[in-house]
Structure formats: structure tokens, C-alpha cells
Symmetry: C2
Subunit: 248 residues, 2 copies
DNA sequence: GGCGCTCCTTGATCGACATCAAATACAAGG
DNA sequence: CCTTGTATTTGATGTCGATCAAGGAGCGCC
């Protein structure tokens, strides 16, 4: 089960700008110190559910560390991932109690949680948080729409290339690397999770990854460690005209 | 070309709550009267582009009347619709100049536009607008995620049923009809637009609509006028467990 | 009426991806 | 070392929707 940590320790949120931009943004305004009084930490093991669709959610949170997924499940078991939460992403919706989809940790996850009601009060009285949240939500909406193009119109190969490009880009931005040298990163997802992300089966994912490897677009160490020798070439394979491509 | 109307006339926005909830929400606060001073109307003919991807957008707007679509286009012509704008929906993103996708009118459209910069100033100084926008954006995000499930995991038949259910529901809510009697509504989309919405070809759309007709789930007058005798049965066909299903 | 146009329908064929099935890799634990 | 279990790869076959192609319906216009 998950660990609760009532947090006086500001430690984990100390390195704010990248790791925890959502709410520890007292970089931006002082009122946010109030958040400190209603926050607590929770840890989740890989594979563990954070909330199930339909559950009541009495908190909102930001991801401090780890990777979690949002996904819809149909009665017959078909599943579609609709969001990928990486460190600094926000979880939950102010003003709504019931979770609309499953949230599952895919790696050890640490959340910084805020009880929903006090958070909403704060939201009402503190415009900067509101602005922040609006901005983040708009980014997520853009990402979702990019994703819709991937789901609706791209081939299996392009889908895989797109996903790898998205993760590579995001990883590079987290560690402040340039995109011109060879990129090495760990896929935070199983083949099955990738399939759920892309609207494919896990066999197709595996085959297409093998194909990209065969064609020299990527190299692989141990099925999760990816090396991209030439990011531009991968992007071309993804069929992207512009260099958009966010996630979350 | 489009018509500009510098608007002292508050007429069109008068019937606010449903038709124009985005910005004429002086129902909510008085400051919004300021909006009156920076707004103007624009009309577009069916098929006309409102903005192209990459264009500079010096305004944000809310849809007063008509239907417009947002869509991504790949260089080779593949197209994916990523948003459907109906009356009361909002267009544009404060804080961003370049449009990320094409916006096209599919029926005669009237926009209520606000010059972007003064609108952004207003946004900064007027929390209620911010809250409103956040809420609307969150709704859109939910809709986008519902849509992702449709694109990634549903069969052609389920996709069509889902789309019809979404439009039927939205239409019913606009005219305050219940969902239990037979529903009659006009599809605001060509078969091609439906295909772009659902990640299908127009031939498949046509075939599946014929199949739903054959199976008695819908009736059709003249290819655009749809009758749904039993909404629940259609929903079942769409594979939806819950009764979520928004758009925009 | 007849022409041109766009939108829609229907048929025949093909191919990308799903499905079914089996084998391999690798880690944890006895 | 062997066992067990999960994640992954690979192969054989099937199917849904795409593609290619033709024809019909509605409508404005000469």
C-alpha cells in the first residue's frame, strides 16, 4: 500500500523549477507558501494503482518523481492511455471529485499531494496559481491534440518513431541536453504500455521497434535502454512536419 | 473574404448563458464589460479558413454561431481533426501568437473576436475570466481524452456510433431536449469531415452509416438529417460504459 | 432539359495490423 | 543449478478498414 508522509520537509520540492513546477512555484508568488500547510507526500510502487476511474479523489497532486499513466478501459478490456505523467506534471482536477480514468504508477512514483478542498479555496483566492494551472492545462491540451494525430492517422512505424521522439525530447529537456548528439535514455514504459499509448498491440510495437533497430534508426541495450544516433532522422520517420511534439 | 463588424451592438451576445458562455459572462462579474470595448464580429462562409496552421493570430474569439473544425494536416495530406467548435466554444490561446492547427468553418460561422493583447491584459487583471477559461480548457481536455479512446481503440462502427451520440447529445443540450424520446438532428459535418474526425476514410464512414441504418439504429433523411429512435441503444453500440462523451 | 459540380454510396481487391501461438531472455528465489 | 514468472521477440494466419473504381443523388445555372 502507499506511504503517506505529512510533510514539513520541503526538501523534495526544493529544486523547484524543473522537478516540481506545478505548485512549489513560490518562485512566482509568496502566497503559495500556504500550500506547504496542506501538502503531504505519497509513494507508489510500479504497477500500483493511484486511483481507479470512478473513485473519489480528495486530493490533487504534482508528480515529484517517477512515471504514471492515465488510461481509459472499456468493459471488454480494451485500454487506451490518454495521458503520461512525468515529473512536474499535475494530477487531478480542481472542482471535480470523481476520477475519470485510471491512474497507475509505471515506475516508483512520489506524489506531492494537496487536499482538494483547501487547494480549491486557495485557487479561488490566489490568481497566480490559477494562471499557472491554465497554462499547464493548455499545454496538456496541445499534447493531447498532437497525440490524436498520432492515433488517428499515423502508421505503426510512425507511431513508434513519434513516441520515441517524444520521450527522447522530454528526457533531453529534463537533463538539459542538446538534441544534436546521440541520445541515450531509458524507456519508462513496457511494450504493453507503449501499445496502450499508441493504439496498437504489443506484438506490433515489438516488431516495429525491431524494424527501427534493423534500419539503424535506433540501438537497444536490454529492451529498455534506447540510443538514438540521429534525432532528426527519427523525427523524419515520425512523419512530423514541425518540431512540436510534447506529452503529458 | 470575411466580414468585420466593429461591435457596439451587444445584441448577438445578449442571450449569453448557452450561446456565448465564454466571455459575455458578465453574468459573473462586472469587469467583463471591458470586453465590450475590444470586441468585434467576424463572419465566415462554409469551407472558408479562419486561420491556417502557423499563421499569426492576433485575436481570441468565441463562437457565436455555426460550426468550425480544428485540424492537423501532414505534408502528404493526411488530416486529423482535433477539435470541433460549436456555439459557445472558445478559440485561440492567450499567450500564443501562432496558430498550431488549421481552423475551418464548416457552416456559416460568426465569431465574437477580441484583440489578443488587450484580452491578455484583461486576463491578468481579472481572475474570474481566468477561472472560466481554466474550466473550459479542462472540459476540452476531457473531451480530447475521450476522443483519444475513440481513435485508438474503437472499431469503425463504434466510432460512427460514438460520433452520432456526441452530436446528438450536444444538440439535445443546446435545445434543452431530453434524451429519452426519438432524437432528430442535422449532422454539421460532411462524410469527409466525419472521416477526419474519426481517423477513417470517407468510404468507411458511408458504409458504417448505411450499416447502422440497415440495423435500425438510425434513420436518415437526405444524408444529413439523422433520427435516433433509441439513444440508449446507440450508446451501447458506441461501446461506452459510462455516459461521458463531450466534445469541442 | 442538360450540364457541371459536389457529396455520397456501393462494389472489388489489397494490405497493414490484429490475433493466435510458440520460443527466447532475463531476473528472483529456492 | 533449476524453477517460476514476467517481459519480449518472432512466426503463421486472418480480418477490418484502406484503396481503387464506378455510379447515383441533389443542386445551381445556362
Amino acid at each position: 500500500m502507499s506511504t503517506f508522509t505529512l510533510a514539513e520537509d520541503r526538501m523534495k520540492c526544493g529544486n523547484c523549477p524543473i522537478r516540481h513546477r506545478a505548485v512549489c512555484a513560490r518562485c512566482e508568488t509568496d502566497e503559495l507558501a500556504v500550500l506547504e500547510r496542506i501538502k503531504y507526500y505519497r509513494d507508489f510502487a510500479p504497477g500500483q494503482a493511484i486511483v481507479w476511474a470512478g473513485d473519489e479523489m480528495d486530493f490533487v497532486a504534482s508528480v515529484v518523481d517517477g512515471v504514471a499513466t492515465l488510461s481509459h478501459t472499456m468493459e471488454d478490456g480494451r485500454r487506451q492511455m490518454v495521458g503520461l505523467l512525468l515529473p512536474s506534471d499535475f494530477l487531478g482536477r480542481p472542482g471535480r471529485a470523481a476520477a475519470p480514468y485510471d491512474v497507475v504508477a509505471t515506475s516508483p512514483v512520489t506524489l506531492c499531494c494537496f487536499r482538494r478542498e483547501p487547494f480549491e479555496d486557495l485557487l479561488a483566492s490566489t490568481p497566480p496559481i490559477n494562471r499557472r494551472l491554465l497554462e499547464m492545462t493548455l499545454d496538456e491540451l496541445d499534447a493531447a491534440r498532437e497525440w490524436m494525430l498520432i492515433l488517428g492517422r499515423k502508421t505503426a512505424r510512425e507511431k513508434i518513431a513519434s513516441l520515441l521522439a517524444i520521450v527522447a525530447r522530454r528526457d533531453a529537456s529534463l537533463r538539459l541536453t542538446k538534441l544534436d548528439g546521440p541520445l541515450v535514455f531509458a524507456l519508462p514504459l513496457t511494450r504493453e504500455a507503449m501499445a496502450d499509448y499508441l493504439g496498437l498491440t504489443l506484438e506490433t510495437v515489438s516488431r516495429q521497434i525491431s524494424a527501427l533497430k534493423r534500419d539503424g534508426l535506433i540501438r537497444i541495450q536490454g529492451s529498455r535502454q534506447i540510443t538514438v544516433p540521429d534525432f532528426q532522422r527519427l523525427m523524419a520517420e515520425a512523419g512530423d512536419d514541425n518540431d512540436g511534439g510534447l506529452i503529458s
